[in-house]
Amino acid sequence: MTRGRADTGWRHRRSIASRVLAATVGCYAGAALASAALARALVALSLVPRVDAVLWTSLGSFALYAAGALAVFGAATATRAWVGLGCVALASAAILVLPLPGPG
């Protein structure tokens, strides 16, 4: 992003490519996992009927995606962006594999 010193070369390019990948594929996966986990958690805690849980989390998932993409480019380094994404994905995946009252 910021083009300081002499990093106009491949390192800069690799950082950009990495961020683009994180913002597109990574953030879609992140938003998908996070909204799915949120829906599952809302149902498991019986906070809302499951229809509403699906609707609200689906409708909100696009805001999550956009926020994620902005955060990826706002992060200090591409590696940090990937680490952040990985944390969100892992936490969501953990909720999804927990034996909660789910599909049925």
């Binding site: 938003a31 909204s35 509403d52 849980a53 956009a66 999804l96 789910g102």
Partner: protein, 537 residues
């Protein structure tokens, strides 16, 4: 830290906006045009105006009986018949049917029930083409995902654009003319800030209304991944509503009830004038007659369900009434329906449509001015973002800019030209019209790549302007109709399409003249004097 954030947002805004901008232009302009898809379809069908033709359910009982006889003769074993009532003075009574093998249509005079010559008007996708292109680029599932991707890009560009912005309020009133990139920056800010809430709303609702396609994962996480999961979800979602009426074919013949009294009864029950009658399983004892109300109506609510009444086709007994008042749905479903209504401008009547149209044009202008701003800045100070390839990359950017803005206008008006120039009886002509649109849209970048960028701007803008302004002449030459005739007959929808196209053509002509002046004044590419400078965001 704050400086870093702003800088990275500026970088993101620039490049995300550029990469998504070319397609966003097309998505925005065709979406803006689809606000008026029905008038455009009417114009493209070019049906003659019938004299002394009544409107709505004033279509006489005799004509309706004639329609039923006609359908019974042409398609006795159809799955359904559809009878569309005239909605405007001069409209015909339109019949359509579908059998197990084929579909057909015919037109009758609404006063006498006499069959009208075939084909009645031109077979065309009409304004629906702009709508399908708007969300699928006429490219099926792949186009659907590409449009979803660039919409997401637009959302990101909007947020990052607001983040880098320092002076939202001042930009309302700032326009510095004739100052190269400064003027383009002002134009970009102005066209983005004025309709900003609209832009956020339209792009977010555009994504969210397709949540089951773009983001099916919450649904799968809660309802399971099997094939029936979606059906289970749908059933729960609409549990407040009525179960869909299912009346299978019995195989025993039954005589169809007179339609005219059923239409009158439907109007009494729903308070809405009937728009069409659909006969399901005609000729069977279990035939159903469904009378549907208008799709659009002046109302004070956002959600406007289409009213309908289902009758038993043989006895005429009322089976089901769908009131035009929105049923109390659950909050989530209401939110989704409201998003749909907001995106499709299904409320507020014509005033709202014009508001959407102008906001959409401003949105298109925002994307277009952003693209031009990118090129104008780099023309002034080239930098070396792409090393040795920088010149070639910016050259390609300029060519794509021309095609994305001016070439798109040529394709849109060219679609109307294809409609009038292709023979009315050409088989598959609706598909040929769309091919003409796509061919023009894809040829534009080739032309732009072969010409110096500034000449390409003048030529393509000029061509689009000429085509737009000459549209009434083309119509007169091919069908003998034009806007004065439409207006005299009270058909302001078709007159409006032509007048709006001419006005648009005049605006394009102005733009072409400005582009030519800029070129002649010698705003020729300033060679980058300093290669050390970083690329400005």
């Amino acid at each position: 830290m704050h400086g870093h954030f702003r800088q990275s947002m500026a970088w993101l805004h620039t490049w995300c906006g550029l990469v998504c901008g070319w397609l966003l232009c097309a998505v925005f302009l065709t979406g803006t045009l689809s606000v008026f898809r029905e008038p455009i379809t009417r114009w493209m069908q070019a049906r003659p105006v019938l004299q002394a033709a009544p409107v709505g359910d004033a279509a006489t009982a005799a004509a309706l009986a004639q329609a039923v006889r006609h359908l019974g003769r042409l398609a006795p074993d159809a799955r359904f018949w559809r009878i569309e009532l005239p909605q405007q003075p001069g409209d015909a009574l339109l019949l359509a049917w579908r059998t197990a093998r084929a579909a057909g249509q015919a037109a009758l005079h609404p006063a006498t029930g006499e069959p009208l010559p075939e084909p009645w008007g031109r077979a065309t996708e009409g304004g629906r083409h702009f709508m399908s292109f708007h969300y699928m680029l006429q490219w099926d599932a792949l186009g659907y995902w590409v449009v979803g991707g660039v919409s997401m890009g637009m959302l990101v560009a909007l947020v990052s654009g607001v983040a880098v912005h320092r002076r939202i309020f001042q930009d309302f009133f700032t326009f510095r003319r004739g100052k190269g990139p400064r003027s383009w920056l002002d134009a970009h800010n102005l066209s983005a800030v004025l309709p900003l809430p609209f832009l956020f709303m339209i792009v977010y609702t555009g994504l969210a209304i397709f949540y089951t396609g773009y983001m099916p994962w919450p649904l799968q996480a809660v309802y399971g991944t099997d094939d029936a999961a979606f059906r289970r979800y749908q059933a729960e979602l609409s549990h407040d509503g009525q179960a869909p009426l299912r009346r299978p074919r019995t195989g025993q013949p039954g005589a169809l009830h007179d339609l005219a009294p059923l239409l009158r009864q439907a109007q009494r029950l729903t308070g809405q004038p009937p728009r069409m009658a659909v006969v399901e399983q005609p000729g069977d004892r279990n035939a159903t007659v469904r009378v549907l109300g208008p799709r659009e109506r002046a109302s004070r609510t956002l959600r406007n369900p289409v009213s309908s009444v289902a009758f038993d086709g043989t006895t005429g007994a009322v089976l089901q009434v769908q009131s035009p008042e929105p049923a109390a749905a659950r909050a989530g479903e209401q939110a989704h329906q409201a998003m749909e209504a907001l995106h499709f401008a299904r409320f507020g009547g014509w005033t709202m449509k014009w508001l959407y149209f102008f906001s959409g044009l401003l949105g298109t202008a925002m994307v277009a001015s952003g693209l031009v701003l990118f090129a104008a800045k780099r023309r002034q100070k080239r930098g070396d973002a792409f090393g040795r390839a920088t010149g070639a990359v910016y050259r390609a950017v300029e060519a794509l800019n021309v095609a994305a803005v001016a070439g798109l206008c040529i394709a849109c008006v060219g679609f109307l030209y294809a409609n009038r120039l292709l023979p009315a009886d050409l088989p598959g002509r609706a598909a040929w019209e769309i091919r003409a649109f796509l061919a023009l849209w894809l040829l534009a970048p080739l032309h732009a790549a072969c010409r110096p960028a500034e000449r390409a701007w003048t030529e393509q803008l000029g061509a689009a302007a000429l085509l737009c302004v000459a549209l009434p002449l083309l119509n007169l030459a091919t069908t003998g109709q034009q806007f004065v005739g439409y207006a005299r007959a009270g058909d302001w929808q078709r007159a409006g399409v032509e007048i709006a196209t001419v006005v648009f053509g005049l605006a394009l002509a102005f733009a072409a003249r400005q582009a030519r002046r800029t070129r002649l004044r010698g705003h020729a590419p300033v060679r980058a004097r300093s290669r050390a400078g970083a690329v400005a965001p």
